[in-house]
Amino acid sequence: MARGSSWALDLLRPLASRMPSVRRPDREVPFDHRALYTGLSVSVFMVCSHLPLYGVRYDAMGADPLYWLRSILSSNRGTLMELGVGPVVTAGTLFQLASTSGLLRFDHNVREDRYLADGARKVLALVIALGEAAAHVLLGMYGPHVGALNGVLIVLQLVSATAVVVYLDDVLEKGYGLKGSSSAISLFSAANTCGKVFWQAFSPVTVNTGRGPEFEGVVLAVAHRALTRTSSARAVVATLLRRHLPNATNLAATFLVLLAAVYLEGVQMLVPLTSRDRRGRRGTFPIKLLYTSTMPIVLYTAVVSALYLVSQLLHYSRLGGTLLVRLLGVWAEASHAAVSVGGLAYYVTPPASFAGDPVHALVYVALMLASCALLAQGWVVASESSARDVARRIADQRMGLPGRRDGATYAELRRYIPMAAALGGLCVGALTIFADMTGVIGTDTGIMLAATAVYNLVKSVEKEDKDLERR
């Protein structure tokens, strides 16, 4: 490591070197232990995301401006997981950016450097959490009059919750988690969404809208109707299609989207490779249809929620009526949240029904598909998985297409990777639109993320099972 050049790392050094970290296991942790560790981390996370914050008056909280971001950050409003995995993700991304841009320079092969980088990332995550928590309190997310003491308490709670997430992530990352769950972030967001789906299916909360109490959970509601009403068939059907509470079509759509996402995740094309050095060694490089996985929709959601935030801020600010602000979005107060009724914000919001405003629906679909395809293309370049990068990596490993020159690999990959990325982006976009239209439980993005995370997990468990048998 060239010490002088990374002033940023030196700045963090005093704190970073003192951050405790999870020790790597001496030998490979057996499968059942890893399953247990994963399960424990997820349940700790789930418990945290249901524990309400102390010092918050829930009636004082207004509409939720961050609603769209919640599913990707797996955060729950008003709980310890208010920030979710946000700080960890942000810190990781910032670090990645800094190290690729040369701002931070450290050598992955030096143990001390690696520890330092690890600690620095943790410090950064905590600092970001501190900032975000303070912003939440100061900007009035918990009502205008929180009080100084309560405010400090809330910030402390949020920062310590983030510390918990940081170390859960550390545990899973250092080889104690299941192989497919190498990133705790996707695992947590999947758990969050799955928990929501489960709750909507089996929630024991009863709601009475004047027609007698009814269960919130679909399955329970159906059982209730089937067992108590005398005219069973019709009442059951009515319950299945009820409008005011989650109904069976929502549940069915959720499963449909899950299945479709899992199917798409499995579609891939294999490029056969042989070793240049050693005859007989072969491998394959899989080009998945969802080449960028669910990344386009995550990016899209992030962009859209940023747009909402800015537009809402501007709408309610002094600049309210100006043309530019109106172009961005016009907002109206609805019962539980602000609703966009015009401008760009309106057109990126999923329409309630196609018939209501066909122009809105068409623009929404077009915007969604186009931006997903473009974002997928962009992400391929940004994440260094473009045809050129992949070809270089394959060449570095002394592999290549059988019977062809090294240059052929690039030509072959270039034929498929951009297409796969664009097509994958379109597929993800289309699936998200379908999810919006059918009203899946949770949010569309959440479901897609959960599907891919669960798919990877199952895949890796299957593989480990096979390895275990072989031993």
């Binding site: 690696r114 009475n208 027609r211 269960f215 005219s231 491998g283 394959t284 992949v390």
Partner: protein
């Protein structure tokens, strides 16, 4: 009051659903499994196995088998469920819900004219002018006219269709389906509730998890202690004589942990006298040898004596305490022996070859323990190269019986197997002096004995010939055949008191240099798994070769057919050694039967490298494996090496795993079979 009642019934529904959700699928699964289990008996049907009680199903046993805890729980839960359904159906009062359509006797969504018609019809029936009954009057005012109004008035009809009530949206009342007493909690009881929830839902699972983790951290994934593995690794030597294998085997930490009681001394002394001839003691200075034997660690002495007691079938002399240890020892034995084989074949030298001699020694010990045949019975005697051990695994066979039939020129076990049924019956009844029933039992066991064929091919995938340094793929079909036609079967082992499945070890080895090139355990028990494994392996191979979907389909179907006929596919990769012709032998050793091992020799011709060191350096084995991983899982970020990776044992394990990962890519056998690798398969036996 009504609300509370309703709440209770909703709570019951909640409970009911929560019970039904796991219970129904679980019951169906149990029933399916029970149905499929009855289909086939795969264990040995000779009277010896029958008497051992492992597979016995007396009526009493069946009842006790059926009335296990889980079955009883299932039945109890079903009863609870039926009761709940009955209770909910009958006890819950119907909530009065205003449904104008059904009051007017119409389908929902009926038209205006229909509503009017129906109203008129009902008015004739119930109108106070027509019907003097006060109840009819009540009904008319309360329901019919209200329903009519609700449906004819456009505003209230829209409200009804939208919100289910003619007055528009009703206020929401939220609640939780819990019994009343749980909901109005305050003060002390609330605190207790909180404590209970925290204790049971959070702390208890955590405690259980922590206890489980600390308990099982001593064990590997195969339920063998880490300590055992490192001991085995330490004591394993390249030329471990079969007689010394036992000394290593009993050093397992599991065995060392077993209690040594003072009260055991005397019975052990007695046992020592009984099995002394088996202990390999030097007869010349027997005194010092004996003293030396007793000076070993008391656990080792005890284990050795117990195993010898088992091998010589003297276990009936054991005291109850020792008998318990003895059973525990036998229960652990197959697992430990398997690990011992794995340790023996671990890649050791720079070529990644394991050791052959200890491996075969361990497998022989395993055979002897399963069949309870003394090790000395293996010694060649009287024109019989393999000793009398295989005969002794048959029921009613003793040394005397073997001597008797040897007089009739039946010396090798194979000869006895190859005789016709009548000849054998005659031989056994007339010469060996067995009764007819006993002879039939012997026949049953002989029918159970598997015969194995190995069809092996080695080639460099997608290339011609094998050159120095190539990654060579071995591609072996191991086929099993039994005279009674079974494929998956449990071995005859009346003296081994636990469930034991047959396993085979396929070792590709160079017998002259004591090198095991490849090793793999093969099991014939689970056909479904074997089919998926084989088809997946074939598919991956073909994909790597860039075959079309149709070719892949055909190859996979062929493989599945073969598996169904009783073959298993074994694939592995190794690095081709220096040029020259190598005399290889593929051993297929069974861990539970004596005398059904097969050897197949063939020659592997390795050519000189055609393009000398193509483009520079030749990477080391470890690097190769890592690189391969990288290609297959391109998505993953750079793999960091483990920091504190010092345990040499786990290092080796890793290698093994990499090797395992490497397998699964094989060239299309038919197309490249003829290539340069001369394979003359020929059975030695």
């Amino acid at each position: 009051m009504a609300a509370a009642e309703e709440n209770t019934s909703m709570f019951l529904i909640f409970i009911l659903t929560m019970i039904a959700l796991p219970l129904v699928p679980y019951t169906i699964m149990r029933l399916c499994r029970a149905a499929s289990e009855k289909a086939k008996t795969i264990h040995c049907r000779c009277s010896g196995c029958h008497r051992s009680g492992k597979y016995r199903k007396s009526i009493y046993k069946r009842i006790s088998n059926f009335s296990t805890c889980s079955n009883l729980t299932i039945i109890l839960l079903w009863i609870v469920m039926i009761f709940l359904v009955y209770y909910i159906k009958h006890a819950s009062r119907e909530v009065q819900v205003f449904e104008p359509f059904s009051i007017l006797g119409l389908e929902p969504g009926a038209s205006e004219s229909e509503i009017k018609k129906s109203y008129r019809r009902l008015s004739i029936q119930y109108h106070p002018d027509k019907n003097p009954d006060p109840e009819a009057h009540n009904f008319f005012v309360e329901y019919i006219s209200k329903a009519y109004q609700a449906l004819t008035d456009p505003v209230s009809r829209e409200n009804y269709e939208k919100y289910g009530h003619p007055d528009g949206r009703q206020g929401l009342q939220m609640g939780i389906a819990l019994p009343k007493f749980l909901l109005n909690i305050d003060g002390a009881s609330g605190g207790i509730m909180l404590l209970g929830i925290v204790g049971f839902c959070i702390l208890l699972p955590l405690m259980i998890a922590v206890i489980y983790l600390s308990r099982s951290s001593k064990y590997t994934g195969n339920y063998v202690m880490h300590q055992t593995l490192s001991t085995y690794y330490y004591f394993m030597k390249p030329s471990l004589a079969p007689s010394k294998v036992m000394d290593v085997f009993i050093k397992a930490a599991e065995y060392m942990e077993m209690p040594v009681r003072r009260s055991d001394d005397e019975p052990l002394q007695k046992l020592f006298v009984a099995v002394r001839s088996e202990l390999n003691l030097d007869l010349k200075n027997i005194k010092t040898e004996q003293a030396k034997f007793w000076k070993q660690h008391p656990s080792l002495v005890k284990m050795e004596l117990l195993i010898q007691a088992h091998l010589t079938r003297e276990s009936f002399v054991l005291t109850p305490a020792l008998l318990k240890d003895y059973r525990h020892m036998l229960e652990l034995a197959p697992r430990l022996l398997e690990e011992l084989v794995k340790i023996a074949v671990l890649p050791r030298n720079p070529h990644g070859f394991g050791w052959l001699r200890p491996a075969t020694g361990v497998i022989e010990l395993s055979q002897n323990i399963i069949q309870a045949v003394p090790l000395s019975a293996r010694k060649a005697s009287g024109g019989n190269s393999e000793g009398i051990a295989p005969f002794l695994q048959l029921p009613y066979f003793t040394e005397a019986t073997v001597k008797k039939i040897a007089r009739k020129k039946i010396r090798a076990f194979q000869e006895l197997c190859d005789m016709s049924v009548e000849d054998r019956a005659a031989l056994l009844t007339q010469v060996a002096g067995l009764s007819e029933d006993q002879a039939r039992d012997v026949d049953l066991v002989l029918e159970m004995i598997p015969s194995i064929e190995v069809d092996i091919k080695c080639e460099t995938e997608g290339e011609e010939g094998i050159q120095e340094g190539d990654v060579v793929t071995m591609y072996a079909w191991v086929s099993l055949h039994r005279r009674n036609g079974l494929i998956a079967a449990l071995p005859h082992c009346p003296n081994f008191p636990f469930h034991k499945e047959e396993n085979f070890w396929l070792l590709l080895a160079d017998a002259a240099s004591n090198d095991v090139w490849l090793s793999q355990k093969v099991s014939f028990m689970d056909e479904a798994t074997a089919i998926t494994a084989a088809s997946k392996a074939i598919q991956e191979t073909q994909e790597a070769l860039g075959a079309s979907a149709k070719e892949i389909g055909i190859a996979v179907r062929e493989a599945v057919d073969k598996v169904k006929k009783g073959s298993r596919l074994v694939m592995g990769k190794f690095q081709a050694p220096a040029e020259g012709t190598h005399n290889l032998t593929s051993f297929c050793l069974c861990d539970s039967w004596i005398g059904c091992d097969t050897k197949t020799s063939f020659k592997l011709k390795v050519l000189k490298r055609s393009r000398a060191g193509t483009r520079g350096h030749v990477p080391e084995e470890g690097v190769v494996a890592a690189a391969e991983d990288g290609i297959e899982e391109e998505e993953e970020e750079e793999e960091e090496e483990y920091d504190d990776y010092e345990s040499e044992y786990s290092d080796d394990e890793e290698d093994e795993k990499n090797k395992g990962k490497g397998k699964g890519k094989v060239a299309n056998g038919a197309a490249h079979q003829e290539a340069d690798s001369d394979i003359d398969s020929g059975s030695d036996e």
